[in-house]
């Protein structure tokens, strides 16, 4: 990566300017403008309309449901991700490679397919669903179903962040701690956790962003009951189809604001990570 190498790519000032210009134009046209449009549209009829739309009964319940999903999904996936990463990086056992491949399934499968799989398994005609139905337990078309598919879609995020880091760090420090007589919990709290702290937080941020924004999988199992099983992302679509464009963008602006917060938090964590 020396200077001569750079020069060969961007031969002349013209080429360089053209490439940078293209990148800037594309970024503005594809990313910045749409994001800006969300807020322009949301506020197009003034602040009071915006507030009225956000405080609408159904929007509030969509916000509530979305928060509930995130509050349940994030801690569960945090625990799962740490266990998973711990298991595959600290132990060798047959099937370890297979397990690390399996964790990527939610990345590989389209969320809509994931939702359908859950519906076929836990719906009224599914294997598990039929059995649960006998006990009058209904998971699909109610919030537990939404939480379940969100768990599925977001489960790789924490583990995927941790595995490379924990592999790279190796087990020496932990082995030393064990030799010095640390208990399992002490080992985790004092040695492992401080090492993986920022990667963990990064994983949580990604999990949270996805849990809040998930559309496809949730849409399949939601049943679209307004005020009950409508998450914020579903609510945006619903309002848009109702010709309530301002309402749709007001709800979308909440998601966009959350995305911006996520980006800021993510950059902060990345910065901290690079300092560590």
């Amino acid at each position: 990566m020396n200077a001569a190498h750079y020069r060969r790519v961007g031969d002349t000032a013209l080429v360089r300017r053209w490439l940078i210009g293209t990148a800037v134009v594309l970024t503005v046209a594809l990313l910045a403008m749409p994001l800006l449009m969300i807020f322009v549209q949301a506020f197009s009829q003034g602040w009071s309309t915006y507030v009225a739309n956000v405080l609408d009964e159904f929007t509030l319940s969509a916000i509530g449901l979305t928060l509930l999903v995130a509050v349940l999904t994030v801690p569960l996936n945090l625990v799962f991700g740490v266990f998973f990463a711990w298991a595959v990086t600290r132990f060798t056992f047959p099937g370890r490679k297979l397990l690390t491949t399996l964790i990527d399934i939610p990345f590989a499968v389209s969320p809509v397919v994931a939702g359908l799989l859950y519906l076929l398994l836990y719906g009224n005609n599914g294997w598990v669903g039929q059995w649960l139905g006998e006990y009058d337990v209904q998971l699909m078309f109610s919030w537990p179903g939404i939480v379940m598919v969100t768990l599925f879609v977001t489960c790789p995020f924490v583990a995927r962040e941790l595995i490379p880091l924990m592999q790279q760090q190796g087990r020496e420090e932990e082995e030393a701690a064990v030799v010095l007589g640390a208990s399992g919990w002490q080992l985790f709290r004092r040695v492992t956790l401080p090492n993986i702290r920022w990667a963990l937080i990064y994983g949580i941020i990604l999990t949270n962003a996805r849990a809040v924004g998930e559309f496809g999988a949730v849409s399949v199992v939601s049943g679209n009951i307004r005020g009950e099983t409508n998450t914020l992302s579903l609510h945006v679509e619903l309002l848009y189809q109702d010709y309530n464009v301002v309402g749709a963008f007001a709800a979308a602006s909440l998601l966009a604001a959350l995305a911006l917060l996520t980006l800021i938090a993510k950059s902060f964590v990345e910065w901290r990570q690079s300092k560590d």
Binding site: L68, N124, M140, I225, R226, L238, D242
Partner: protein, 343 residues
């Protein structure tokens, strides 16, 4: 173990726990206090049923002094029916296609075979037909189906392959051709071929077709439900769009029924029946008419007659027999629709 950080843990978990609990309480509907009804409905009926629900709630509390809360689920009606078969515990369905109710009997066995005879008018408290929307002043002078096959006319309609709305329009045109040419299959085919040839854009759904016609300004005639056709000029007063109702068109029914299996479990049988029956009451019918649907009540009919011009309405039975035949002979791949579009 005297690590000060350690104290944070239980506090954090209890805070999260409290939040989850609080949210769960906030989310769970107040079941004990009032009766509940879940209505599974089609996509574009949200405004209609939120208005009707208010009307019914007032009626029910007047009759029984009970408060009832009505929840709505909306989506494409085939998908909605699918959700009920997979376990969505809707008490009543209010759909825009008879086939989607039929399937609840055929595949789910959730309602009896004779569901359509349980309420008046084939269990269809309101109906509509396929009509046209034309540009300001009707410059191409569109009045009936034979105007649509003129060479200078461009049509916008939803695709019959993907949308019930498009199938209705296709069958309406077919019904007109049958009325005009009688048994002459060759002439009917020739008419349908020309008709389909005039379509400039086949959108996937009704709302998409509306956008193409109104926002993008393509085409001379938009073909869709009369109820939608009447809403569009109201939403776009500056465009001067005009409604044209042809002399003959398709009878589009909007079937309703209660789901026997679900109302028994939910204990809502009486409430569900009352909810649907009230759609036939005078105030219910008046409300439906205000959403540009045609109704059966004589009083309301007389009040709104000028908004709903007389026309000859052809039910599916008169055109192709039944929906199964229609799908097999016309809309399945390689069937009539595909043959007619081949050049």
């Amino acid at each position: 173990m005297s690590n000060p950080n350690k104290r944070r843990f239980p506090r954090l978990t209890s805070t999260v726990g409290a939040m989850v609990f609080g949210l769960a309480v906030a989310m769970s509907p107040v079941q004990a206090a009032e009766k509940e009804l879940l209505n599974s409905s089609y996509d574009i009926a949200r405004e209609l049923f939120s208005a009707y629900n208010e009307l019914f709630q007032a009626h029910w509390s007047e009759q029984t002094a009970e408060q009832v809360s009505i929840r709505q689920s909306h989506g494409g009606s085939s998908r909605q029916a699918q959700a009920i078969m997979q376990g969505l515990r809707a008490d009543v369905v209010t759909y825009n296609q008879v086939t989607d109710v039929d399937i609840l009997h055929q595949r789910g066995n959730l309602i009896p075979a004779d569901w359509a005879s349980r309420l008046p008018n084939n269990s269809s408290p309101y109906y509509s037909t396929m009509a046209y929307l034309v540009r300001e002043g009707n410059p191409k002078n569109i009045q009936n189906w034979d105007d649509l096959i003129r060479e200078d006319v461009e049509l916008i309609m939803p695709n019959p392959k993907t949308s019930g709305n498009g199938r209705y329009t296709y069958l309406a045109a077919l019904g007109y051709a049958q009325q005009t040419y009688g048994d002459d299959q060759q002439q009917i085919d020739a008419f349908m071929k020309k008709f389909l040839g005039r379509v400039k854009v086949f959108d996937t759904g009704g709302r998409g077709a509306t956008t193409t016609f109104v926002e993008r300004g393509l085409g001379d005639v938009l073909l869709t439900f009369e109820s939608e056709v009447n809403n569009i000029p109201e939403l776009n007063p500056d465009k001067g769009l005009q409604v044209v109702v042809p002399k003959v068109s398709f009878l589009a029914e909007f079937p309703v029924t209660w789901i026997d299996a679900n109302v028994k479990r939910n204990g809502t049988e009486e409430l569900a029946k009352a909810y649907l029956e009230h759609l036939y009451s005078e105030e219910g019918q008046r409300l439906l008419a205000s959403f540009n649907y045609r109704v059966h009540n004589e009083v309301v009919k007389a009040e709104t007659s000028e908004r709903f011009p007389e026309l000859k309405l052809l039910p599916i039975e008169d055109i192709v027999g039944d929906w199964e035949t229609a799908n097999k002979e016309h809309f399945a791949s390689g069937a009539k629709l595909d043959q007619l579009q081949r050049r």
